[in-house]
Assembly symmetry: C2
Homo-oligomer: 133 residues x 2
DNA sequence: ATATTATTGCAACATTGTTGCATTAACAAA
DNA sequence: TTTGTTAATGCAACAATGTTGCAATAATAT
Protein backbone atom coordinates (compact mmCIF):
# COMPACT_ATOMS: atom_id res chain seq x y z
CA UNK A 1 0.00 0.00 0.00
CA UNK A 2 3.08 2.20 -0.45
CA UNK A 3 1.60 4.85 -2.70
CA UNK A 4 0.86 8.50 -3.01
CA UNK A 5 -2.31 9.57 -1.32
CA UNK A 6 -3.77 12.84 -2.51
CA UNK A 7 -6.77 13.14 -0.24
CA UNK A 8 -7.09 13.62 3.48
CA UNK A 9 -9.39 10.66 4.09
CA UNK A 10 -6.76 8.18 2.84
CA UNK A 11 -9.21 6.93 0.26
CA UNK A 12 -7.52 5.67 -2.88
CA UNK A 13 -8.60 7.31 -6.13
CA UNK A 14 -8.91 5.21 -9.26
CA UNK A 15 -8.41 6.13 -12.88
CA UNK A 16 -11.57 5.09 -14.63
CA UNK A 17 -12.58 5.64 -18.23
CA UNK A 18 -15.31 8.03 -17.14
CA UNK A 19 -12.88 10.13 -15.19
CA UNK A 20 -10.17 10.27 -17.85
CA UNK A 21 -12.69 11.01 -20.60
CA UNK A 22 -14.28 13.87 -18.67
CA UNK A 23 -10.90 15.33 -17.76
CA UNK A 24 -9.74 15.12 -21.39
CA UNK A 25 -12.89 16.84 -22.64
CA UNK A 26 -12.30 19.62 -20.13
CA UNK A 27 -8.62 19.90 -21.05
CA UNK A 28 -9.40 20.19 -24.74
CA UNK A 29 -12.24 22.64 -24.23
CA UNK A 30 -11.80 26.30 -25.13
CA UNK A 31 -14.08 27.36 -22.30
CA UNK A 32 -15.54 26.13 -19.04
CA UNK A 33 -18.27 23.50 -19.48
CA UNK A 34 -21.51 22.87 -17.66
CA UNK A 35 -22.75 19.45 -16.56
CA UNK A 36 -25.24 19.45 -19.44
CA UNK A 37 -22.53 20.26 -21.97
CA UNK A 38 -20.29 17.52 -20.57
CA UNK A 39 -23.13 15.04 -20.83
CA UNK A 40 -23.35 15.53 -24.59
CA UNK A 41 -19.60 15.93 -25.17
CA UNK A 42 -18.72 12.69 -23.38
CA UNK A 43 -21.08 10.95 -25.77
CA UNK A 44 -22.63 8.46 -23.37
CA UNK A 45 -19.41 7.18 -21.86
CA UNK A 46 -21.15 7.15 -18.50
CA UNK A 47 -24.32 7.96 -16.64
CA UNK A 48 -25.58 11.46 -15.81
CA UNK A 49 -25.05 10.81 -12.11
CA UNK A 50 -21.50 9.61 -12.68
CA UNK A 51 -20.62 12.95 -14.26
CA UNK A 52 -21.73 14.74 -11.09
CA UNK A 53 -19.65 12.40 -8.97
CA UNK A 54 -16.57 12.49 -11.21
CA UNK A 55 -16.67 16.29 -11.28
CA UNK A 56 -16.78 16.37 -7.51
CA UNK A 57 -13.74 14.11 -7.37
CA UNK A 58 -11.84 16.10 -9.99
CA UNK A 59 -12.43 19.27 -8.00
CA UNK A 60 -11.24 17.59 -4.79
CA UNK A 61 -8.16 16.27 -6.57
CA UNK A 62 -7.42 19.80 -7.73
CA UNK A 63 -7.52 18.87 -11.40
CA UNK A 64 -10.62 20.94 -12.14
CA UNK A 65 -12.10 24.09 -10.70
CA UNK A 66 -15.68 25.22 -10.46
CA UNK A 67 -16.98 28.51 -11.82
CA UNK A 68 -20.36 30.06 -11.17
CA UNK A 69 -21.48 32.42 -13.91
CA UNK A 70 -23.44 35.61 -13.28
CA UNK A 71 -26.55 33.70 -14.33
CA UNK A 72 -25.93 31.08 -11.66
CA UNK A 73 -24.88 28.39 -14.12
CA UNK A 74 -22.19 26.12 -12.71
CA UNK A 75 -19.32 25.35 -15.05
CA UNK A 76 -16.07 23.44 -14.75
CA UNK A 77 -12.63 24.12 -16.20
CA UNK A 78 -9.44 22.09 -16.19
CA UNK A 79 -6.80 23.63 -14.00
CA UNK A 80 -3.77 25.17 -15.61
CA UNK A 81 -1.04 24.02 -13.28
CA UNK A 82 1.68 26.11 -14.81
CA UNK A 83 3.31 28.92 -12.86
CA UNK A 84 1.23 31.12 -10.59
CA UNK A 85 -1.82 28.91 -10.72
CA UNK A 86 -4.72 29.77 -8.47
CA UNK A 87 -8.36 28.83 -8.54
CA UNK A 88 -9.16 32.33 -7.46
CA UNK A 89 -8.91 34.12 -10.74
CA UNK A 90 -11.33 36.18 -12.80
CA UNK A 91 -13.69 34.53 -15.26
CA UNK A 92 -15.23 36.21 -18.26
CA UNK A 93 -18.74 35.43 -19.39
CA UNK A 94 -19.61 36.47 -22.97
CA UNK A 95 -23.19 37.58 -23.56
CA UNK A 96 -23.03 36.61 -27.23
CA UNK A 97 -21.27 33.26 -27.44
CA UNK A 98 -22.22 32.35 -23.85
CA UNK A 99 -18.72 31.05 -23.12
CA UNK A 100 -17.02 31.29 -19.76
CA UNK A 101 -13.24 31.55 -19.91
CA UNK A 102 -10.47 31.75 -17.35
CA UNK A 103 -8.50 34.97 -17.11
CA UNK A 104 -5.59 33.89 -14.99
CA UNK A 105 -3.29 36.87 -15.45
CA UNK A 106 -5.64 39.45 -13.98
CA UNK A 107 -5.63 39.62 -10.21
CA UNK A 108 -8.53 41.52 -8.68
CA UNK A 109 -7.68 43.91 -5.89
CA UNK A 110 -10.11 44.19 -3.02
CA UNK A 111 -9.77 45.72 0.39
CA UNK A 112 -12.20 44.50 3.05
CA UNK A 113 -12.10 45.63 6.65
CA UNK A 114 -10.08 43.15 8.70
CA UNK A 115 -12.99 41.72 10.68
CA UNK A 116 -13.74 39.72 7.54
CA UNK A 117 -11.83 36.50 6.96
CA UNK A 118 -11.53 35.97 3.21
CA UNK A 119 -11.06 32.39 2.05
CA UNK A 120 -11.95 32.42 -1.63
CA UNK A 121 -13.94 34.33 -4.17
CA UNK A 122 -15.96 33.97 -7.34
CA UNK A 123 -15.49 36.88 -9.72
CA UNK A 124 -17.32 36.65 -13.03
CA UNK A 125 -17.26 39.57 -15.42
CA UNK A 126 -20.00 39.72 -18.04
CA UNK A 127 -19.73 41.48 -21.42
CA UNK A 128 -18.46 40.82 -24.92
CA UNK A 129 -15.37 38.71 -25.43
CA UNK A 130 -12.55 39.56 -27.88
CA UNK A 131 -13.77 37.00 -30.44
CA UNK A 132 -17.28 38.46 -30.51
CA UNK A 133 -16.08 42.05 -30.47
CA UNK B 1 -53.60 57.78 -18.55
CA UNK B 2 -51.25 60.60 -17.54
CA UNK B 3 -48.87 58.63 -15.34
CA UNK B 4 -45.31 57.73 -14.76
CA UNK B 5 -44.06 54.82 -16.83
CA UNK B 6 -40.94 53.16 -15.56
CA UNK B 7 -40.40 50.47 -18.16
CA UNK B 8 -39.47 50.60 -21.81
CA UNK B 9 -42.37 48.52 -23.08
CA UNK B 10 -44.92 51.04 -21.83
CA UNK B 11 -46.53 48.32 -19.76
CA UNK B 12 -48.10 49.63 -16.57
CA UNK B 13 -46.87 48.06 -13.36
CA UNK B 14 -49.32 47.49 -10.53
CA UNK B 15 -48.78 47.49 -6.80
CA UNK B 16 -50.14 44.20 -5.61
CA UNK B 17 -50.04 42.73 -2.14
CA UNK B 18 -47.65 40.04 -3.28
CA UNK B 19 -45.23 42.59 -4.67
CA UNK B 20 -45.32 44.94 -1.68
CA UNK B 21 -45.01 42.05 0.77
CA UNK B 22 -42.00 40.58 -1.00
CA UNK B 23 -40.32 43.97 -1.29
CA UNK B 24 -40.91 44.67 2.40
CA UNK B 25 -39.47 41.31 3.41
CA UNK B 26 -36.39 42.07 1.33
CA UNK B 27 -36.09 45.60 2.75
CA UNK B 28 -36.28 44.34 6.33
CA UNK B 29 -33.88 41.47 5.72
CA UNK B 30 -30.36 41.60 7.08
CA UNK B 31 -29.04 39.65 4.12
CA UNK B 32 -29.94 38.68 0.59
CA UNK B 33 -32.68 36.05 0.36
CA UNK B 34 -33.22 33.10 -1.93
CA UNK B 35 -36.52 32.18 -3.56
CA UNK B 36 -36.96 29.36 -1.06
CA UNK B 37 -36.35 31.68 1.89
CA UNK B 38 -38.81 34.21 0.50
CA UNK B 39 -41.40 31.49 0.10
CA UNK B 40 -41.38 30.78 3.83
CA UNK B 41 -40.91 34.40 4.94
CA UNK B 42 -43.89 35.65 2.92
CA UNK B 43 -45.97 33.11 4.78
CA UNK B 44 -48.24 31.99 1.95
CA UNK B 45 -49.20 35.44 0.74
CA UNK B 46 -48.89 34.13 -2.82
CA UNK B 47 -47.97 31.18 -4.96
CA UNK B 48 -44.44 29.87 -5.55
CA UNK B 49 -44.64 30.88 -9.22
CA UNK B 50 -45.77 34.39 -8.32
CA UNK B 51 -42.61 34.89 -6.28
CA UNK B 52 -40.51 34.11 -9.35
CA UNK B 53 -42.52 36.57 -11.42
CA UNK B 54 -42.58 39.32 -8.80
CA UNK B 55 -38.82 39.03 -8.32
CA UNK B 56 -38.29 39.38 -12.04
CA UNK B 57 -40.40 42.54 -12.04
CA UNK B 58 -38.66 43.99 -8.98
CA UNK B 59 -35.30 43.47 -10.67
CA UNK B 60 -36.55 45.15 -13.87
CA UNK B 61 -37.96 48.03 -11.87
CA UNK B 62 -34.56 48.45 -10.22
CA UNK B 63 -35.92 47.94 -6.73
CA UNK B 64 -34.06 44.68 -6.16
CA UNK B 65 -30.81 43.23 -7.41
CA UNK B 66 -29.79 39.66 -7.99
CA UNK B 67 -26.75 38.02 -6.43
CA UNK B 68 -25.23 34.68 -7.33
CA UNK B 69 -23.29 33.10 -4.51
CA UNK B 70 -20.12 31.08 -4.98
CA UNK B 71 -22.26 27.97 -4.58
CA UNK B 72 -24.52 29.03 -7.45
CA UNK B 73 -27.44 29.93 -5.21
CA UNK B 74 -29.41 32.89 -6.52
CA UNK B 75 -30.36 35.46 -3.93
CA UNK B 76 -32.10 38.83 -4.00
CA UNK B 77 -31.46 42.01 -2.06
CA UNK B 78 -33.37 45.28 -1.90
CA UNK B 79 -31.48 48.10 -3.53
CA UNK B 80 -30.03 50.79 -1.36
CA UNK B 81 -30.78 53.85 -3.47
CA UNK B 82 -28.76 56.24 -1.36
CA UNK B 83 -25.69 57.96 -2.73
CA UNK B 84 -23.31 56.07 -4.98
CA UNK B 85 -25.64 53.14 -5.51
CA UNK B 86 -24.62 50.50 -8.01
CA UNK B 87 -25.71 46.94 -8.51
CA UNK B 88 -22.14 46.07 -9.27
CA UNK B 89 -20.75 45.83 -5.80
CA UNK B 90 -19.05 43.10 -3.83
CA UNK B 91 -21.08 40.53 -1.90
CA UNK B 92 -19.85 38.57 1.05
CA UNK B 93 -20.87 35.00 1.62
CA UNK B 94 -20.33 33.63 5.15
CA UNK B 95 -19.43 29.96 5.41
CA UNK B 96 -20.84 29.71 8.93
CA UNK B 97 -24.12 31.60 8.98
CA UNK B 98 -24.62 31.16 5.21
CA UNK B 99 -25.67 34.77 4.78
CA UNK B 100 -24.96 36.86 1.72
CA UNK B 101 -24.58 40.57 2.38
CA UNK B 102 -23.97 43.62 0.24
CA UNK B 103 -20.67 45.43 0.65
CA UNK B 104 -21.35 48.63 -1.20
CA UNK B 105 -18.39 50.70 -0.09
CA UNK B 106 -15.73 48.43 -1.54
CA UNK B 107 -15.12 48.89 -5.24
CA UNK B 108 -13.15 46.11 -6.90
CA UNK B 109 -10.38 47.15 -9.24
CA UNK B 110 -9.82 45.07 -12.33
CA UNK B 111 -7.82 45.73 -15.47
CA UNK B 112 -8.80 43.71 -18.53
CA UNK B 113 -7.23 44.18 -21.96
CA UNK B 114 -9.38 46.56 -24.01
CA UNK B 115 -10.65 43.98 -26.51
CA UNK B 116 -13.04 42.96 -23.74
CA UNK B 117 -16.25 44.95 -23.32
CA UNK B 118 -17.23 44.83 -19.66
CA UNK B 119 -20.93 45.34 -18.92
CA UNK B 120 -21.38 44.03 -15.39
CA UNK B 121 -19.89 41.64 -12.89
CA UNK B 122 -20.73 39.28 -10.08
CA UNK B 123 -18.14 39.32 -7.33
CA UNK B 124 -18.83 37.11 -4.32
CA UNK B 125 -16.23 36.72 -1.60
CA UNK B 126 -16.48 33.69 0.66
CA UNK B 127 -15.17 33.44 4.20
CA UNK B 128 -16.21 34.30 7.75
CA UNK B 129 -18.25 37.43 8.40
CA UNK B 130 -17.63 39.88 11.28
CA UNK B 131 -20.53 38.48 13.32
CA UNK B 132 -19.21 34.92 13.15
CA UNK B 133 -15.61 35.95 13.67
C1' DA C 1 -5.24 -14.91 -9.81
C1' DT C 2 -7.55 -13.00 -5.83
C1' DA C 3 -9.37 -9.86 -2.42
C1' DT C 4 -10.67 -5.34 -1.40
C1' DT C 5 -13.34 -1.53 -2.19
C1' DA C 6 -13.76 2.67 -5.19
C1' DT C 7 -16.74 3.49 -8.78
C1' DT C 8 -20.71 2.94 -11.59
C1' DG C 9 -25.68 2.40 -13.29
C1' DC C 10 -30.15 2.65 -12.27
C1' DA C 11 -34.25 3.90 -10.08
C1' DA C 12 -36.43 6.92 -7.28
C1' DC C 13 -36.66 11.16 -5.33
C1' DA C 14 -36.06 16.34 -4.19
C1' DT C 15 -35.41 20.94 -5.64
C1' DT C 16 -35.58 24.60 -8.78
C1' DG C 17 -37.36 27.01 -12.56
C1' DT C 18 -40.79 27.54 -16.72
C1' DT C 19 -45.13 27.79 -19.41
C1' DG C 20 -50.18 28.04 -20.69
C1' DC C 21 -54.50 29.43 -19.49
C1' DA C 22 -58.60 30.66 -17.03
C1' DT C 23 -59.62 33.73 -13.14
C1' DT C 24 -58.82 37.74 -10.29
C1' DA C 25 -57.89 42.27 -9.04
C1' DA C 26 -55.47 46.96 -9.76
C1' DC C 27 -56.25 51.12 -11.67
C1' DA C 28 -57.71 54.74 -15.19
C1' DA C 29 -61.63 56.77 -16.91
C1' DA C 30 -66.36 57.77 -16.94
C1' DT D 1 -69.07 54.84 -7.29
C1' DT D 2 -69.24 52.01 -11.18
C1' DT D 3 -67.12 50.10 -15.31
C1' DG D 4 -63.66 48.50 -18.72
C1' DT D 5 -59.09 47.16 -19.59
C1' DT D 6 -55.44 44.20 -18.78
C1' DA D 7 -51.60 43.30 -15.43
C1' DA D 8 -51.12 39.94 -12.16
C1' DT D 9 -52.23 35.60 -9.98
C1' DG D 10 -53.18 30.52 -9.04
C1' DC D 11 -52.98 26.17 -10.58
C1' DA D 12 -51.57 22.34 -13.10
C1' DA D 13 -48.33 20.37 -15.82
C1' DC D 14 -43.90 20.24 -17.28
C1' DA D 15 -38.61 20.58 -17.76
C1' DA D 16 -34.16 20.89 -15.87
C1' DT D 17 -31.00 20.15 -12.31
C1' DG D 18 -29.17 17.87 -8.43
C1' DT D 19 -29.20 13.99 -4.66
C1' DT D 20 -29.40 9.36 -2.48
C1' DG D 21 -29.46 4.19 -1.74
C1' DC D 22 -28.03 0.00 -3.25
C1' DA D 23 -26.61 -3.87 -5.95
C1' DA D 24 -23.30 -4.79 -9.64
C1' DT D 25 -18.90 -3.72 -11.69
C1' DA D 26 -14.12 -2.93 -12.29
C1' DA D 27 -9.53 -0.78 -10.74
C1' DT D 28 -5.72 -1.70 -8.03
C1' DA D 29 -2.52 -3.80 -4.34
C1' DT D 30 -0.95 -8.07 -2.90
ZN1 LIG E 1 -18.07 35.73 -27.15
ZN1 LIG F 1 -10.74 29.41 -14.29
ZN1 LIG G 1 -21.54 34.70 9.38
ZN1 LIG H 1 -25.93 43.86 -3.08
Amino acid sequence: MQQCCNNIFMKQFRNTTAKTTILNVLKNAEAALSHAELLTLTNGVCDRVTIYRVLERLVNEDNVHKVVTSDGIIKYAACNHSAHHSHDHVHFNCEKCKTTTCIEMVLPVIQLSNDYTVKSFNFTVTGICPKCN
